[in-house]
């Protein structure tokens, strides 16, 4: 989180040395879309480029229940029968964004956008509910970490690193849009953007506890529970690219 804030401000700072008509204006924007609820600062880099830096989150928004996952009722028993365990899902993104609007026209609002979303790799949170009672006391061993349920609920997240890593994702973005992030003629402006983030290969992650009590996020795969591997293979086909549709209201500060 700290790194995302710094990187956002660093982007604004770098534009100090970009030349004329830099930081002559600054606007603040509030947005909503498939990239979550966000807040941004934007400043012009000349007449054809605006830099946008901000932060967005969508944790808990939109709910969907995924059925079809079965888990063994007694995970340590080789002869255990399996039981259906639904997964309640919702958006889970929580990241900063550094984006550049490139306007072919010095006066019109149509633009191309390039940049990146950076921060937590998760994009969907999933809760496996009605877990069998065995999972409250024992758990699945994932590389020496114990993944257990709490009161019958196992919290997981679908996460993808983009070009980053396990704990900090960097998801490149390209798109098009309408409206200027910093409108020199009007105090208030409205923007619409449509694009796609590259997420890379998605995986299902959960918190596990080592023998010494250390908590780490570990990846659940088909090696641990076959059906999770089957579900993730399907998800991975569609989750490498995240469609991003957003609307934003900007207010020019100066």
């Amino acid at each position: 989180m700290k790194r995302t804030i710094i990187l956002s401000l660093a982007a604004l700072f770098l534009s100090v040395s970009a030349g004329a008509q830099v930081f002559d204006h600054l606007s603040i924007g509030l947005g909503a879309g498939t990239d979550g609820l966000g807040i941004e600062l934007a400043a012009p880099l000349g007449n054809h480029v605006d830099v946008r830096a901000g932060y967005g989150t969508a944790v808990g928004l939109i709910g969907y229940t995924l059925n079809g996952i079965h888990l063994p009722e007694h995970p340590a028993n080789p002869n255990s029968s399996d039981v259906p365990v639904p997964m309640k899902m919702g958006f889970g993104m929580n990241d900063a964004r550094l984006l550049f609007n490139i306007y072919p026209s010095a006066t019109k609002g149509f633009h191309f956008t390039v940049g990146a979303y950076m921060g937590a790799p998760s994009f969907i949170r999933g809760k496996l509910i009605n877990m069998p009672s065995d999972y409250n006391t024992m758990g699945i061993d994932v590389d020496g970490y114990l993944v257990k349920a709490k009161n019958g609920v196992l919290a997981t997240e679908l996460a993808a690193p983009g070009l980053g890593g396990k704990s900090f994702a960097v998801k490149p973005y390209v798109g098009i849009g309408f409206g200027r992030a910093v409108d020199r003629d009007h105090r208030v402006s409205f923007c619409f953007d449509l694009g796609v983030q590259y997420q890379g290969k998605a995986g299902l992650w959960a918190e596990g506890e080592s023998v010494t009590g250390r908590i780490e996020k570990v990846q659940l795969t088909g090696e641990h529970i076959k059906e999770i591997g089957d579900v993730m293979d399907e998800v991975s086909k569609y989750a490498s690219f995240w469609p991003t549709l957003s609307f934003r209201l900007n207010v020019r500060l100066f």
């Binding site: 700290k2 790194r3 804030i5 710094i6 401000l9 660093a10 604004l12 700072f13 100090v16 830099v22 930081f23 600054l26 063994p72 007694h74 995970p75 340590a76 028993n77 080789p78 002869n79 255990s80 399996d82 006391t137 024992m138 758990g139 699945i140 061993d141 114990l146 080592s210 023998v211 010494t212 009590g213 250390r214 641990h224 529970i225 100066f254």
Partner: protein, 279 residues
């Protein structure tokens, strides 16, 4: 002015970029145990010397050995009708006198390895002298000490690889857990078999001391991160534990993992002890 303010803010917040410092556990080192210079093993000589020596032997039992560990845990091995058993407890040292709580006092020259005359003074009994070989412990590794068990993690391969954590270590509860999950473990483990400590000595002895004052002892061979061990008596130990084990140090603890398997079964797994050092 606006540019200067923005630049100053960015620079001021730069240290936060490097403030995230993940603690990876570091390099664990323990202080030497308090009895490292007194630890060793006493084995009664098979042929007594002709001067003032009496074997500690009755028709019912024979003294087999006395283990004196680096952390002040002792184990007295006794052969009874061919069956070896151990009594365990704690001891303290005053010069050349070893006070074994619940057993008695031993006095002998502990300055070096060799044959010694041991004066054994037990409550309610006449003091006796025993000729014995004293093997002084060579303290060359921080593993050689007593350890208390904070937690035990049992991992078994069932429908998936599953684990359960237990506070301390009670082998009866562990065997019951394995059995309740569909694996065939013999039910000859009594409820009292809870570990009070595990000791490794510089005489290459491994000692399990139980809360009921009994124990299991054996020999081990250690190569720095893994070891094999063999109980002194084949009836000792637990059928689901193999003789293969690994040792690592993490987060101020010793992590001892013994491979587990069930005879005549495909069941496999491990038992991991999270150990804290005894002084």
């Amino acid at each position: 002015m606006k540019k200067i303010l923005l630049a100053a803010t960015a620079v001021a917040l730069l240290p936060l970029l490097f403030a995230c410092n993940k603690n990876n556990g570091g390099d664990t080192r323990f202080e030497d145990p308090r009895f490292v210079q007194y630890a060793g093993q006493l084995i009664p000589c098979s042929d007594p010397t002709p001067t003032k020596t009496v074997l500690i032997e009755t028709p019912e039992n024979t003294l087999h050995s006395i283990e004196l560990t680096e952390s002040g845990v002792y184990a007295v091995g006794t052969l009874t009708e061919g069956r070896l058993s151990y009594k365990t407890g704690t001891y303290s040292v005053d010069g050349q006198a070893y006070n074994l709580a619940g057993y008695g006092t031993l006095r002998f020259d502990n300055s070096s390895t060799g044959e010694v005359d041991v004066l054994i003074d037990r409550p309610g009994q006449e003091a006796e002298i025993m000729r014995a070989n004293f093997n002084r412990a060579k303290g060359s590794d921080q593993l050689y000490r007593g350890w208390t068990v904070d937690k035990t993690r049992v991992t078994i391969k069932g429908w998936t690889t599953a684990s359960a954590d237990f506070q301390g270590c009670n082998f009866y509860d562990i065997a019951k857990f394995i059995r309740d999950n569909g694996h065939d473990v013999p039910d000859d483990i009594t409820p009292g078999m809870a570990l009070s400590s595990i000791s490794f000595t510089g005489t290459e002895k491994i000692l399990f001391a139980y809360t009921d004052g009994t124990g299991d002892a054996g020999e081990f061979r250690f190569n720095g991160s893994s070891f094999t061990y063999r109980w002194d008596d084949e009836k000792m130990g637990f059928t689901f534990l193999t003789d293969q084990a690994t040792v690592e140090y993490m987060d101020g603890k010793c992590i001892l993992t013994i491979s587990a398997s069930i005879q005549d079964s495909t069941t496999s797994g491990s038992v991991t002890f999270v150990l804290s050092p005894m002084a």
